[in-house]
Amino acid sequence: MPQLEIATFAPQIVWLFITFLAMYFLMAKVALPRIAQVLDERQTRIDDNLEKAAALKAEAEAAAAAYESSLAQARSKAQEEVKAVLDAANAEQAKRQDELSAKLNKELDAAEARIAQAKDKALANIKEVAGDVAKATVDKLSGVSVDDAAVQAAVAKAMEQN
């Protein structure tokens, strides 16, 4: 087995030390620092971008909150205005209704007074007409001429009994 030939050990081990030391220094001083630098740069870049993204997100959220609050403000203001207009309209309507009903009541009272007056007048006329009719009836039936005052008194007495 060639692996067990002691004579070949020395050159192998000598060259192992030479090449492995070269490997170690190439890795430790050249290759690994380069890779580490690139990885670090990428990591800082990613962290930076993440921070930026977080800041932008916070900004966007603040803007959304401001929008929401202004929207709510506008909505409540609009509601207040609508309510004010509605109240004013209601008050106006109530006032007009009151005025109208007052006017109507007044007219109703006046009309009732007129009706009562007309009724009184009519009743007074009825007495006169009834007297005249009674006098004419007596005159025609019995040929007796009755005194006006007596007829009137009789009519008034009859009407009062009714």
């Binding site: 030939e5 070949t8 192998q12 060259w15 490997m23 890795m27 890779i35 990885l39």
Partner: protein, 242 residues
Amino acid sequence: MSNNPLQQFQINTIVPIDLGGINASITNSAVAMVATVAVVSIFLIMGMGSRKLVPGRWQSMAELSYSFVADMVRDNVGNEGRKYFPAVFSLFMFILFGNLLGLLPYSFTFTSHIAITFTLAMIVFIGVTLIGIARHGLHFFSLFVPSGVPAFIYPILVPIEVISYLSRPVSLSIRLFANMTAGHTMMKVFAGFIIPLGFIGGWAPFAVDVALTGFEFLVAFLQAYVFAVLTCLYLNDSIHLH
């Protein structure tokens, strides 16, 4: 290529070098290790060349391997492990690409040699032991004294703990070496049957080799991962002592 399935593990000297009595020759193993370091470096450094914020294919592969090992270290060792991340990363990529490049036909798999895997395991073993002693001083050796155990069992338990601690580099190195050697040997054995069995019978071992190739990719990754995870666990023991 010989029909011997172990031929692929042969160390061949390409340029003989003698360094003060030590044989430091450039071998096919050394070439494979240099190629691994070159491929990993090109992959990671060129891949990160444009340093784009949004990565392309190569860049995201490089970043993925970084985060994969970084997560592994963080999960297993915690924040104190950051200091040792480059070492664990180098270990993981070295073994992973050594295994993967070894799957190329005619290439050499240096992780299939016990000399390499045991040296790597010893680097980890000595490293984590020194880190533990540097952090905790003599208190580090309380690692061998399990807590919540009656004192009269200590004479039995402490030797067991010491032996299990000392066997860490052995199991670490043999696991990687054995997996790579066995996988590559098996592929060669089945490959050796393809031509002798002829056009009719040769398809069966060929199909097995296709399946084994896919399986070997899994093993290549898994063994590198296991080596790196165990390194993290040993590191965690040294830093946190249980």
